[in-house]
């Protein structure tokens, strides 16, 4: 479904990601773990084309991420951002924001689907007439997920989807995401600094440090402690 080969991303003279390769199968949930600044979020942003300066090869559902048109890519892959307080436009109602991607892509009858999506993520259709500042962080993150799902993508990239929320809400959002993955047969790539989140959500994960991949583990290996690298061991011990 996703294959990333020898991806290197530069921000001017500094290297944000160095020679990263991984593949994600359809329906799988893949995690990227590491401390802040290790380049995990940059990989996601590069996959959806928010960074321009990169080398290597990214292919998403058979399409090359560099040459594919953004509209075509939009139907396959969408992203949920880290901070729900920054990812919703403050001047538009929830319904308008969820409908916007559908309007851009000329999908018929977006208003009806907004109601469906809001029911799907557990807020209810009446929320579509609220403004973002009337919602809590968890509710906003649900809206962001609904917006990401509005084009019925097959892949969802989640950039620290719960790190801005408090612990009780985190579990709610994670369970919602797991339910959606099962119901809609989605493929996830999740970025987090929290190993607990990753081990709960992902079948496989890659540990990153200083822009470089350290090692790739399965959930079973992680839980059994079958870790070969010292840094991964430290990370597990710390969590």
């Amino acid at each position: 479904m996703i294959s990333v080969e020898h991806l290197t991303v530069n921000f001017g003279p500094s290297v944000a990601v160095r020679d990263v390769s991984f593949t994600v199968a359809e329906g799988e949930s893949f995690g990227l773990v590491g401390e802040s600044g290790s380049g995990k979020s940059t990989i996601l942003r590069t996959m959806v084309g928010l960074n321009r300066d990169w080398t290597g090869k990214i292919s998403i559902n058979g399409a090359d991420a560099r040459s594919a048109k953004r509209r075509d890519l939009a139907r396959i892959v969408q992203m949920v951002f880290q901070d729900p307080y920054a990812s919703l436009h403050p001047r538009y109602t929830i319904g308008q924001q969820i409908a916007e991607p559908m309007k851009i892509n000329g999908i018929a009858n977006p208003d009806a689907r907004v109601g469906e999506l809001l029911d799907l993520i557990g807020l209810g259709a009446k929320f579509q007439f609220r403004f973002p500042h009337e919602l809590s962080g968890g509710q906003r993150q649900r809206v962001a997920i609904a917006r990401a799902l509005s084009l019925s993508p097959r892949i969802l990239l989640l950039d620290e989807p719960t790190s801005a929320l408090d612990v009780s809400i985190q579990a709610e959002i994670l369970n919602l995401l797991n339910r959606l993955r099962k119901e809609l047969n989605l493929t996830f790539v999740i970025v987090s600094h929290d190993l607990a989140v990753i081990s709960y959500m992902c079948e496989r994960l890659m540990v990153m440090r200083n822009a470089e991949p350290v090692e790739t583990l399965s959930r079973e290996q992680l839980r059994a402690g079958e870790v070969h690298n010292d840094y991964s061991r430290q990370l597990i011990a710390a969590s």
Binding site: A74, S87, H89, T93, P101, D111, Q128
Partner: protein, 298 residues
């Protein structure tokens, strides 16, 4: 998917926006100075609309027997050197003031907003070119460019307004660009970008709404400046031409009698002062409410 109530979506959106507006009004009314400013501006607009009903005399009709007469029951604010009622001229002059302010704002704010939003969002060489043009206009002394422009095109209200526009748009471009630079990389803009939105759509529907509040605040502050500049042009004879009752031109004619008949120059001067103050107070109150950098405070 049926919900408990079937609601007309368009009406619900309108109601949601109305609710926002009401809460905005409530917060505005908490600021007494802002309310004073708003009242002054509303009185000005009221005078302009109903000038023929409010005025006691014909503003253009000379009454030679009443030349330079002092304020009295008949001539509330006195009469000028041709015996025209200053109060009536003041009331009619509010139309000219509003006309100039309106013309300048309607032309300069959208131009600046568009240039700033495009250059901030697109970046690169577009940004470089637009901003250097803006710098050039900012470097020219305001009144001087207006003078040269009016001198070239001939005096008159519309030309004066155009001349002021020419120098009034660059601050809006700067302002809009600064906001656009922040907004263009925000997650909510990235989200619509991921959905395949064109840059034009992003600028028009996602960046510009975020620039609007600071532009509106700047606009209200600018109105005071525009009134002063317009009066200045009228004063040196390059704005509204006689017999139009433009306030600046009225001061200019009253200058000759300032020691003996003080009211001829003072009354229009006071009008300019009060109206400028009103716009400034209004602008200040709006800034307290709209400025994104001050917003966290309340």
């Amino acid at each position: 998917m049926t919900t408990e109530t079937i609601i007309d979506p368009r009406r619900a959106v309108r109601e949601a926006s109305l609710k926002e507006l009401r809460s905005f009004m409530r917060r505005f009314l908490r600021n007494p100075l802002g309310v004073i400013g708003l009242v002054i501006v509303l009185v000005l607009i009221f005078c302009a609309i109903f000038a023929p009903l409010i005025a006691t005399h014909d503003p253009y009709l000379p009454t030679l027997t009443a030349r330079l007469s002092a304020p009295s029951a008949d001539y509330w604010f006195g009469a000028d050197e041709l015996g025209r009622d200053i109060y009536s001229r003041l009331v009619y002059g509010s139309r000219l003031t509003l006309l100039i302010v309106g013309l300048v704002i309607v032309t300069s704010a959208p131009i600046g907003l568009l240039i700033g939003a495009v250059s901030g969002t697109v970046g690169g060489w577009v940004d470089a070119i637009f901003m250097r043009i803006t710098d050039v206009f900012l470097a020219i002394p305001k009144l001087l460019l207006a003078l040269a422009f009016v001198a070239a095109l001939g005096p008159g209200i519309v030309n004066a307004a155009l001349a002021i526009t020419l120098t009034a748009w660059p601050p809006y471009a700067r302002l809009a660009r600064a906001e656009a630079l922040v907004v263009r990389n925000s997650d909510y803009v990235n989200a619509v970008r991921l959905a395949g939105a064109s840059e034009l759509r992003i600028i028009l529907f996602h960046v510009i709404p975020m620039c609007l509040s600071s532009v509106i605040v700047r606009m209200t502050f600018d109105m005071a400046g525009i009134i002063l500049t317009a009066a200045g042009l009228g004063f040196i004879g390059l704005g509204a031409q006689p017999p139009l009752p433009e306030w600046g031109a009225m001061i200019s004619t009253g200058r000759k009698f300032i020691f003996d008949q003080w009211w001829v120059a003072t009354i229009p001067g006071a009008a300019i002062f009060i109206v400028s103050l009103g716009f400034n107070l209004l602008g200040d109150a709006l800034r307290d409410l709209l400025d994104p950098h001050l917003r966290q405070r309340n």
